[in-house]
Symmetry: C2
Subunit: 356 residues, 2 copies
């Protein structure tokens, strides 16, 4: 038996991936020019499957990069002249704030304790903020903030661009494009692909903002400037040589998921999360780190007396789970419930947790 | 028969790659954490094979990113406070100059005509320049400037950091670390790997420069700041989730090449280049675009009356060559001679060129 990974990324590989990789390699696609019509078809296919899965409006542009991390810099350079506003509840949501600071601009944060989500009604966004950022799933703590909650904030501040980090909750997450201006993720989590590709989707307002900064003589970056890469992206190409295999696999696995249906994918995720949290809530040795209203359906953080021992015991059974993030390593484990693992897999995991 | 690619990148896949990919996927390496000791071993292996192939001093640090293109921005942010100096002889060498400009700093260029190399004796580098950049192989025109030539410039200007773009001449190129401060490449060319990984190697002076800019309060970037990523890189890790498969394949294929011996790899490249240029020089319908002293051993640019027809005729024989770059598409073809193709492959190509 092979290891099965419930880690929050890199994660369990989606079952169809090895076959898709074999096809990619054996048909010579690894050698094709990124300027060829064959490449454009691969790129277009990935974009179309994304559009299908998330009802993306035609005005949305899809950009590819090496990782989601890179997009913090890209989004800052393209969308922030001076000030940004960040909802911070863990390491990853804070990283966007830190990036803006490192690039010499002025971020403002609204921070809550680890394990908490946000009460949107009480949040005041400064007038000068140009963007609002939220990590829908804070991977470090397993807190999920339903995007629908942040739409209220967007309604109150309609001219500010709302950007969602959906890194560890893609493709579970869903969007209402009346309120969202952009989102980004990487493929080694919910998509179950090998790491090395980040995806960023933005609407026309983001492109317009980058153009207006550029016209003011403010740098929007170089290889990652929307001013520069927008045209190529609309023609299903990239300026730099992209991760062709990653883009190919993204399209193929999204197609596989679309065949199953995104609603079904979400329902199965909810089912797996319910099984796991129900077990934890009844357990005498495990407790959920996050209160029910903020619990992530895709990354569960679970307190236990000896996390290292839990991880080792499961490893003996070929089950790999994640450690807590940073200091939380000492008191908790993290269990991802991405589409690559089945309900039966989660039932087996729960049985083994019960045996510890 | 499968297509054989003599394209300048993405290019022919190195023969051992499919086996390495199979091993990577079937042993679960696509799912391992980038914080695990297993990952560190993969990362360390790639660095060690690079060290072995190029006699890298221990002080050199290896950074991984999504593409070589990204490193123009990274190197600018980390190493240029105000002014850079660029030897420009085509699109790719000019891209570095453009990047510095796009980031709001002041680049200076010394430009020669397409198809030309540089007479280093006549070049005056401005006092204020902090870096000197050279594309050892200008991929757009097939001009090769032996790094040994630019060492003279470094001797004249020892405090300026010399950065070499070796994108389409890696791993043929070699370095004298008394003169070189950094180099970068991507893996879809001479390494014969799937696209999606860039590699940048810098010495301690580059790290020191980034630290000194940072201390002055000048932004050195975010996810790509040497100040931030140096420590992790020395521990064989990355800050962002990297292209683990790409790094694994880089280490494995470099190991394969080291087993053959880098001298042998270079000799075979020279042999293939001699065969091709000898054929072209004797031909009545083909002529080399570049004069002998600047001819690239890895990317040959060849003038011909009807390049599109040449490309199509060879395609019928399952031989894929590249078009000229940009406007040169109308008058020339490009043929790459990377390690993934053998002397016999090049002989077959020449025979087919002779039949046209």
């Amino acid at each position: 038996m092979q290891n099965i990974f419930f880690t929050p990324g890199p994660a369990q590989i989606y079952p169809t991936v090895p076959t898709h990789i074999h096809k990619f390699m054996s048909t010579g696609l690894a050698s094709i020019s990124h300027r060829s019509s064959q490449y454009k078809e691969i790129h277009k296919h990935a974009v179309e499957q994304l559009q299908k899965a998330f009802d993306l409006p035609e005005e949305c542009t899809v950009f590819f990069g090496g990782s989601a991390t890179q997009f913090w810099q890209t989004l800052t350079q393209n969308l922030v002249e001076n000030t940004s506003f960040h909802l911070v509840n863990g390491v990853f949501s804070k990283n966007f704030y830190d990036t803006v600071k490192q690039l010499g601009k002025s971020p403002v944060k609204y921070e809550v304790a680890l394990g908490q989500g946000f009460d949107m009604d009480s949040i005041v966004v400064p007038d000068e903020a140009e963007i609002i950022t939220l990590a829908v799933n804070e991977t470090s703590t397993g807190v999920y903030t339903d995007p629908a909650k942040v739409y209220k904030l967007k309604q109150k501040y309609p001219t500010k661009l709302l950007l969602l980090d959906v890194v560890s909750v893609f493709p579970y997450c869903d969007f209402n494009w009346d309120f969202v201006d952009g989102f980004y993720f990487s493929v080694q989590k919910g998509m179950g692909l090998p790491a090395g590709l980040g995806v960023c989707v933005v609407n026309q307002k983001c492109i317009d903002k980058a153009n207006s900064l550029n016209e003011k003589g403010i740098s929007t970056g170089s290889y990652n400037s929307f001013v520069k890469i927008y045209k190529k992206a609309r023609e299903y190409q990239t300026n730099e040589t992209p991760n062709v295999m990653g883009i190919y696999l993204l399209g193929k696995v999204l197609e596989d998921m679309n065949t199953i249906g995104m609603k079904k994918i979400r329902d199965l995720t909810d089912q797996k999360a319910k099984l796991l949290y129900d077990f934890v809530d009844k357990s005498t040795q495990f407790t959920a780190f996050v209160e029910p209203k903020w619990r992530s359906p895709t990354v569960a953080t679970i307190n236990c007396p000896n996390p290292k021992q839990v991880i080792e015991k499961l490893k003996e059974k070929k089950i790999i789970i994640g450690s807590g993030y940073g200091d939380l390593k000492e008191t908790q484990v993290r269990i991802a419930l991405f589409p690559a693992t089945s309900v039966a897999d989660v039932e087996m995991l729960i049985a083994e947790l019960g045996n510890i």
